[in-house]
Subunit: 217 residues, 2 copies
Amino acid sequence: MSEQKSSVMLIDDHPLLRKGLKQLLALEDDLEVIAEASSGAEAIPLATELDPDLIILDLNMQGMDGIATLKKLRDEGVTSRIVMLTVSDADEDVVNAISNGADGYLLKDSDPEILLEHIKRALSGKMVLSEAVTQVLATALRRPTVKTPAELNSLTNREHEILSFIAKGLSNKLIARELNISDGTVKVHVKHLLKKLGLRSRVEAAVWMVNQQGGKV
Amino acid sequence: MSEQKSSVMLIDDHPLLRKGLKQLLALEDDLEVIAEASSGAEAIPLATELDPDLIILDLNMQGMDGIATLKKLRDEGVTSRIVMLTVSDADEDVVNAISNGADGYLLKDSDPEILLEHIKRALSGKMVLSEAVTQVLATALRRPTVKTPAELNSLTNREHEILSFIAKGLSNKLIARELNISDGTVKVHVKHLLKKLGLRSRVEAAVWMVNQQGGKV
DNA sequence: AGATAAATACTCCTTTGGGGGTAACCCCAA
DNA sequence: TTGGGGTTACCCCCAAAGGAGTATTTATCT
């Protein structure tokens, strides 16, 4: 292995926290913070360009949140180790984070030494989870993501209707024919409903919907 | 809380291992092994009667295996903390264990001190996972283990694997990244699998698959 | 040794999907 | 009456998906 420093990038919209984190990381000779960003939008071009060894990513950010940023980063082909950092100790996003390619999920209120320890472990290629997070993960496994249909209520009738067609596997064109509207309009509805549900594609929407209604069409 | 000793029960079909474990636990003043069993069948009546604070349960046993024993115990209303113990460090049963009510999943080849530490943490109500297990758990979230019902048998392993990714909503590109193959290759597999299943799109495939396995990860 | 199947990775091509925007129309509430 | 949400419909643009073909390598089964 090399004796080179490991490059670290911080993404967090709280300057103070970045400062603190930077100080913490400065305790280690072999870590170097090479970039900081205060938003996902700002971070993505930086990350793709610099390709740091490790990215520490705040989960709770204004605008594009941590998960969205994570998705986008992986989507752009960023292969850095990415560790999510969050305040909440009962955050169910852990499942989302891990399944979207995060290499760790740490809590901001962890003991600094432990945090540093975890960060170093993450750099060495390991998956790191804060203690409290392990609970959440286990709980998530026991209660397999029964999502709140609250999100369904945010959809308009038309959007809901179109979602259910998507969940049957229909293409936009077929849905349009079914509803006697143009396929362009269907695309508009699909676009809106994906945005509202925070999903990336009709496939995700279909799976999500099928799980909502307990499957079996 | 009380100053009483915590009662522990050992279930393992290797007498030698039970002996070793007992010695290890004897190092702690506040732990007391109140029962041992060499099989699940033997263990269940004992456990229901004694209701120990903690049960240490071997995963790999002859006859009724660890998971089956675990299920049966919970089924009988045993509320003890239950920690699974296993030899294999790449054991995918971790998901099964946790989702069936295990409070921990430890490896026999862990450092004894760490093992003891974990056991005590489990007794204090926490979920404990050996380090290597955390990896497996995370991986399980990314790569769903897929069942093989009748119609799925016509698919090759790779096709099957890719179908399960589709059912999670992943794009070809992301699947390719996950499997370390080119996205062109993924498209080939998708094409083949659609043809074999008589489906017209990945959305249909996703819905079909989710219905097959009853949804969820 | 030869055949076969699976997995890999290309090519070329067309259709589909999804994000951005603008804009009309209706209807209902502030 | 003005405003906003919902539905409709279009624009542009580009990425993703999927069909068809060829080809190499590895493994397995005669």
